[in-house]
């Protein structure tokens, strides 16, 4: 059977029947690779059905398989013959998928649907229910944890957290503002207000009645009523337990998203982006509700509710759309609604007070030691205002 013009070379064949390698001879013909078995039988592998097993560690060895035969392997060590095989077989790198793509797509759809139902329906529903029944001590503990995490996260020096501003005159002014608004009847627990020495124009509420103001917001406000308006808005979030619900919600949905994207570097980014998107889209109703609450609270204290609208409006004009803190508001359609809602809440026949006298307002603005000594004046990081971060 050994033709004169063909060159027979030894190779090893595993047929997937017994744990034994068969020493065979192979030869290249124009149309196929011929495998000569020791008993004289011949196997023909057409060139286009030949596949090379990829990612093999031993670079001197070529491992060949045959389309439609998942078990058989041919181990070819002869370098010359390897070159001939590479020249003749055109589909060595082709991959024959054993798993049907339709099945993958089906389960991918199932996975996406299941994750969507859990993140957008089940987890929010449960978070709302659980936030209602979480005891105040539990909420406080949740808030304490989050507060420390935020202080550390915002600190650019990496030395243990952003400073809390505690100038007594300034904190007294803030407390006076709170007392004037007098929301205690609506609250399950006492509210604690913190002012952080950070240039960001922002304020947010945390679970358990912690309100956080940044120095940047106090400096940006033109009059105490604007700060009072923000304060009233944040108290609104506390009354409706929005921060607690958000914290519980992100605890549930972050876990699920982590599952989906895995733990590797690429996953972290996807996870972060996805969570930001979810958070950005879900609290519109909560924002409107907190605004309504703020309007009532301000009206009761005889402060013009318009302050809430004017503050947004002015920030928008001053900083333009590009600036991070307004970008969020500028981009979503309720921005103008919110401003006009604030204007609608104004009673034109009434003569409104201002919430602080000039001296207290100065004290409040310099609670962190005044502009001159402010520790950092870098550009404000883009951050959504009036929302709690996670």
């Amino acid at each position: 059977m050994t033709g004169q013009d063909v060159n027979w070379v030894f190779a090893d064949l595993a047929r997937g029947e017994r744990a034994h390698l068969t020493r065979v001879q192979i030869a290249c013909y124009p149309e196929a690779l011929i495998i000569g078995m020791p008993d004289g039988a011949q196997i023909t592998w057409g060139w286009n059905t030949l596949r090379r097993v990829r990612d093999q560690a031993d670079r001197r060895l070529m491992v060949l398989s045959h389309q439609g035969d998942p078990l058989t392997r041919l181990y070819l060590a002869d370098q010359e013959m390897q070159k001939v095989v590479t020249r003749n077989a055109k589909s060595l790198g082709k991959r024959d998928h054993a798993t049907p793509l339709s099945k993958v797509l089906l389960w991918a759809g199932g996975a996406v649907a299941s994750v969507a139902v859990i993140i957008f329906l089940l987890v929010p529903l449960m978070a709302t229910q659980l936030a209602e029944i979480l005891p105040p001590e539990g909420e406080k503990a949740l808030g304490d944890t989050t507060f420390e995490q935020i202080r550390v996260a915002l600190d650019e020096t990496g030395l243990g957290g952003v400073r809390i501003c505690e100038d007594p005159a300034g904190t007294d002014a803030m407390q006076a503002m709170y007392t004037r608004l007098n929301p205690d009847a609506d609250l399950p627990y006492e509210v604690k207000i913190h002012i952080l020495d950070h240039p960001m124009v922002n304020a947010f509420a945390l679970p358990g009645g912690r309100l956080v103001f940044f120095r940047g917001l106090l400096e940006e406000a033109e009059n105490p009523d604007e700060v009072a308006a923000v304060l009233a808005h944040e108290i609104g979030h506390v009354v409706y337990r929005d921060p607690t619900r958000d914290a519980l919600r992100s605890a549930g949905s972050l876990g699920v998203l982590g599952l989906l994207f895995g733990d590797f570097a690429g996953g972290t980014v996807a996870l972060f982006i996805a969570n930001q998107l979810i958070n950005a889209s879900y609290s519109q109703a909560a924002e409107a509700r907190a605004d309504d609450y703020a309007h009532d609270l301000l009206a009761q204290a005889n402060i013009s509710p318009e302050a809430l609208g004017t503050f947004f409006e002015r920030l928008h004009e001053e900083h333009g759309d590009a600036e991070g803190i307004v970008a969020h508001f500028a981009s979503h359609p309720q921005m103008t609604d919110r401003i006009s809602a604030a204007q609608d809440a104004v009673d034109p026949t009434r003569d409104y007070d201002t919430i602080l006298d000039a001296q207290s307002w100065r004290d409040l603005q310099t609670v962190c030691g005044g502009r001159e000594t402010s520790s950092s004046d870098g550009p404000a990081p883009s951050k959504k205002p009036w929302q709690k971060p996670d």
């Binding site: 744990a19 978070a127 876990g255 570097a265």
Partner: protein, 391 residues
Amino acid sequence: MPPSTLKISYAGEKGPVFWLALRTGILTVLTLGFYRFWAKTRLRRYYWSAIRPGGAPLEYVGDPLEKLLGFLVAVVFMAFYIGVVNLILMYFSFALLNANFAAYGLSFLGLTPIIFFAQYRARRYILARTRWRGIRFGLEPGAWGYSWRSMVHWIATLCTAGLTWPLTTLWLEKYRVSRTFYGDRRFVQGGSKGLLFGAMRHVYYALGLSAAATVMLALYENPAWVLVYLLSGPWLIYGWAYWRAESFKRMTEAKQLGDMQFTAKPRPWRIIGIYALGGLMMNIVLSGVFLVAFMALGLAVGTTDLENINLDDMDMAATALVPVGVLIYFLFIILTRAMTHAWITLPLAQHFAEVTEVVNTQNIAQIVQRDRDEFAEAEGFAEALDVGAAI
């Protein structure tokens, strides 16, 4: 008559595995993590094919699409569990205990049965997709049995401060190995209860010495006792390497497959050497990369005209720096992983492979093929929980 002993040769090389890990790592980041099924499959193909008992390479035949499918199947079930259970645990830990760590602890505790379950299933998948000489390996079903046994053994280990770890290791290995097949032939893991305690002896010596020194230090307040730690610290490291080598040797030599048996002679000092050299090389390379990065940064700052700097440009530069920083961070992780493959994982695999021999192989050709283990969820649960094998 075939030779009655098969030596295991090793064909893996540092360079190729480094580039393979680097390339697949970059692709994984670029695809937001979804290439990881392909990355893992390719690395496994490489590592498996490097091990050549009797000159014939092992082959890993797992299909990345199959792994992706398995992962999706696992997500459908796990998403519910993780989302709802995490939320409830978080609620209870704050409602009852007013603390966060309890939520993490409870959440982890709630997951442990599934983690062990997933590990066994992953092993079953990997063995079902491993072949040598064209014959499949296999693992019998039994993941829940493995799960509860693991829990019991782990609790026992924790209660004894880890002193019974050798017993736990052997018992769990027995459970797994006596359900493992090569073709139609079942593996047997022998060894009495005390088999592995001797392998832990240097750890016990070092811990005993440290404990004695601590007691003396507390009693006599003589700072000279601190010097004992200089001895017991390195001894502990040696003890750990000795444990890895000796427990492997003892368990391997107590395994049987039909008439076949195994011998192994791993060397503790070689293991320490691989880690020391690998760690040193990785430190040198990473320091070099940092140095070059700093010089590039210095050059960029140096060429800037500080007199006429434009504040808008500064803002632009700061905005541009964030993605660059993120990119460098990922490159750093990928580079570290690739180097770990080249300088630690591969040399260790090489050492353990080369010191192992299969003996009494004269009847090996009588072993016949086993059926394919179809496996809907592949190692999806392990993938989802991130507890799969490192490669």
